[in-house]
Symmetry: C2
Subunit: 522 residues, 2 copies
Amino acid sequence: MITEEEAVLKVEPRQLDTLLHPNFDANALKTAENIATGLPASPGAAAGELYFTAHEAAAAGKAGKSVILLRDETTPEDIEGMDLARGILTARGGMTSHAAVVARGMGRPAVVGCGALIINEEKKTLTVGGKTYHEGDNVSLDGSTGKVYAGLVPTVETTVTGDFATLMGWADKARTLKVRTNADTPRDTQQAVDFGAEGIGLCRTEHMFFEASRVKAMREMILADNAEQRKAALNKILPVQQKDFEEMYIALDGRPMTVRYLDPPLHEFLPQESMTAEIAEIAKELNTTSEKIVEKIGQLHEFNPMMGHRGCRLAVTFPEIAEMQTRAVLQAALKVRKEKGIDVKPEIMIPLVGTVKELKFVKEIVLDTAEKIFSEQGEKIEFQVGTMIEIPRACVVADEIAKEAEFFSFGTNDLTQMTFGFSRDDAGKFLDAYYDNKILESDPFARLDQEGVGELVKMAVEKGRQGRPNIKLGICGEHGGDPSTVEFCHNVGLNYVSCSPFRVPIARLAAAHAAIKEKQAK
Amino acid sequence: MITEEEAVLKVEPRQLDTLLHPNFDANALKTAENIATGLPASPGAAAGELYFTAHEAAAAGKAGKSVILLRDETTPEDIEGMDLARGILTARGGMTSHAAVVARGMGRPAVVGCGALIINEEKKTLTVGGKTYHEGDNVSLDGSTGKVYAGLVPTVETTVTGDFATLMGWADKARTLKVRTNADTPRDTQQAVDFGAEGIGLCRTEHMFFEASRVKAMREMILADNAEQRKAALNKILPVQQKDFEEMYIALDGRPMTVRYLDPPLHEFLPQESMTAEIAEIAKELNTTSEKIVEKIGQLHEFNPMMGHRGCRLAVTFPEIAEMQTRAVLQAALKVRKEKGIDVKPEIMIPLVGTVKELKFVKEIVLDTAEKIFSEQGEKIEFQVGTMIEIPRACVVADEIAKEAEFFSFGTNDLTQMTFGFSRDDAGKFLDAYYDNKILESDPFARLDQEGVGELVKMAVEKGRQGRPNIKLGICGEHGGDPSTVEFCHNVGLNYVSCSPFRVPIARLAAAHAAIKEKQAK
C-alpha cells in the first residue's frame, strides 16, 4: 500500500500526453505504409482527406469531412482551417514554428518540417517517395512520432477511466498552484473546464478575428483614415466580440477570465502584397481600391514586426481599440450576470508593457470607459486591470509597474524571444547547430530557460510583490504546460499557470509533483 | 580667474556639435529659399547636386562632385553612396532610422523624415512645394536645424582654435574614462585619432564588404553549397580584410582596436527578391543562375532579422567565417608589427552572445586558428578575446560569460532594442505617440534609458567583475557619444566609451564633466 501522494508521484506528467490524445490502432499500424517522417510537433493521431489551403480545409471541415491540412508553412490567416482540420502537416518549420505552436495550443495532432514532402500549391499535388497525392486523397499522421502514412489508418479514442479521475483528485488535493487555460473559443473553454481548468489565463482576442466572416470589420478599421472611421468599424466588431465573451463567461460559470487586449501587428489582418487576387476581392468587399490596400500594406510593413507596432502600442496610438474592447468585456459581463446569474470575474490584461506610464495610459482608457458603461447601465461589476510581463524591461522595473497592475501574467514566449534575442519563427535556422554543438540542451520555447529567462521572472516576482504585496502572479506562455516549468513556477511562488486545454491535466499533475517534492524536501 | 576644472565645466559638451561641423554662411542663409523641413538627424551643413540612388551618388562622389544623396529611406546597401555624399536627405524614417544612425556615425550632415518630399525614383524627380527637381540640381541641407534649401548655400568651415585645444587638454587631465571611437576605415580612424580617440572600440567588419567591389566575394560565400566552397570564397576575402586591418593598425599607431566579427544577417549582402535586374547581373558575375540567387534569398528570408541568424550565430553555423576573420586580424597584426615596428593590440569581439557556451565555442575557433598562425609564422602576438553585451540574457548571466571574456563592450543599441522590444527601424511608427502622451521623455536610442537598460548594464558590470575581477568594460553603442550617457558610464565604472569620430571631443569633455562633478560631490 502506498499513500495518495506516493501514487501521484508515480505517474510522470508527460505520460498523460499520450493518454489524452487519440492513437492509431496498433494492429493497423503494422501494415500501414509510412511515406515520410517529420517532427512530432503536437501529439495524437489523425487521418483524413488532404487539403492544400486553409480556406478549403475549413470549408471541408464545416461540411463534416475529416481533414488533414497540408501547407509548406502556416500563417495566422490559416487559423480557421487549422482549427477545423483533424491534423496538420507542414513541409517546413521547426518545433517552434507557427504550425507547431498553434497546433499544440489547439490540441490538434501535427507533424511539421517534413522536408521530403514536395508541395505544389497551385496544382494541388503532394509528391513524396515518387508518388503523387491530390486533394481529397487519404493520409494519416501521428503527431507523437512524426510519422506520415498513406491512406486511412484507423484511430482508437483514448478512454479515461475512473482511476484517472481518482488520481487527478489526489493531485488536486496535493497542489497549491492553480491551473488555468489559454482559450479563445467557447468550445476550447468547455474542453479545458472538463479537463479541470480553474479559469482562463489567456484569451487572445485577436484569434477571434482571423475567421473569414469577421476579418472584414478589422480590415475596415485598419483602412480607416481617421479616428471617426475607425470607431465606426470598431462598432461593427463590438457586438461580435461581446457575444464571444458572453459565451465564454457562460462556459466558465464563475471562473475568472483574463482577456488580453489586441496584440498582433495590424498587417497580420491583411493579405501579403503579392496576393493580388485576394487584394482585389477585399477591395471590392470593402468598397475601396486595390491601390489603397496595397498602400496600407506598405505603410504597415515592418522590418521586425515582433518588436514593432503591436501590443499596448496599438492602444497608445489608437485608444479607440481599447475602448471597444473594454465595452465588449464589461457589457458581456453585466449581461451574463443579469441573464444567467453567473458571477463573472473579468481580468483585463494589457500586453507588451515595458514602462509603467504605458500601462497607466491604457488603464486610464479602460477605467474611463468602464465608468461610462456603469453609468449608462446603472450597475457596476468588479474587474481587475493587469499586465503581461513579456518585455525584459518590464522585469527590471516590475516594482513600478506593480503599482498600476493588479496582476502580472508572464508571457514567457515573448520574454524568451527578447531575452535571448531569438525570433521564434527564425531560430529554426540555427538552433539545430546549437543542439549539435551542445550550446543549448533544450528548446527554450518548450522548456523555460531557468538560468536566464527564469532569473528575470524571479526578479519580476520579487519586485512585483515589493510594489504591490497582494499582486496576483501567473504565467500564460506555452511553457505553462511543461512539467519542469510548472515546478519552477511553483518554486518561485506564482499563483497559477495557464496552458492549452489538452495540457491542463499535465499541469495539474506537475503542480502536485512540485508541491509534494517541496514538502518532502523540508 | 577660474580653475581649469571650472573652465571645463563652463562648456556644455553638446555645444561642440555645432563647433565641429561646417555651418551655412549666416548672410547667405537670410536669402536662401527654404523648400522643406525634416528632422535634424545629423548636425552640419551640406550643399551639392541631387542624386537619387546610392550607386550614382557614389560614382559622382568619386568623380569629385559635391553630392546630396536623396532616398525615401536608406538601407545597408547604400553605405558607400552615403559615405561619398556630402549630405543625406530622406523622405521617411525617424531620428533612429538607418539613415540617421549611419549619418551620425559618419559625421555626415543629414535631414530625415522630410515628409513633404515626393520622390519618383524611376523618373529621378523630386517634387516639393509644386516645383520639380532633377538629378544634378543643386540643393542644400542643414542637419542641425532640419531645413532644406533650393540651390547652393555657401558653407563656412569651422575653425578650431588653440583655445579649444587648451580646453580639451584640461578635460583630458580631469577625466578618468577613456574615449575610443567606432571606425571601420583608415580615414575614419585617422579622423578620430586627430580628435583624440584613444583606440577603436568598435570596428564593424561587415561595413568593409558593402562596397561594390568587395561584396562579390561575400556573395560567393553566401551562395556556396558547402564548407569547401565557402572556404574558397572566404580565401578571396581574407587578403582584402587583412589589408584593411593593416591600414587601420597603422593609423592607430599602437592604440588598441576592438574588431567585431561578422554580425548582420547574410541576406543584407544580397539584393531584394524583387530586384530582378540586379539579380541577373549578379548571377552573370558569379557564373550562376538568377533562380539560384532567388532561391537563396528565399532561404535567407527572416520574419525578424534583428533576432535571427546573425552575430555569433553565424560563427556557430559557419565556423570558417570566424577562422578567416581571425587570420585577417592576427596576420595583419604580425605584419604591421614586423614592418612598421608598431605595437599592435588586437581585441577580438564576438557579437550577440547570450550564453557562455556560445562564446566558448567561438573562442575555441579563434584560439585554434591563432595557434596555427603562430606556428606557421614562428612568432606570436598578444591579443584578447571578449564579447559584446547586447542581449538581455547576457546581462543576467554576465558572471558566467566573464569567465570566458577578457572584456565586455556594451552594445547598447541592440540591448535597447531587445530590452524594450523596440525595433529601431520600426519604432518611428509609434514613438511620436509616446512622446506626445509623455510616456517616454527622450529617444532611448539617443539617450540611454538608465532606469531599464541602464539597470541591466549595472547588473552586467557587477556580475562581470564577480566572474573576472580585472575585466575591461566599455560601451560601443551610439550612446557612447551622448553626454548624459557618458556620465552614466563614468558612474557605473566603465573603463571607456566608444563613439563616432565626430563625437570623440564631446565624449572627452563629457567624461571630464562626470569626473569633476563626482569629485565635487565628495
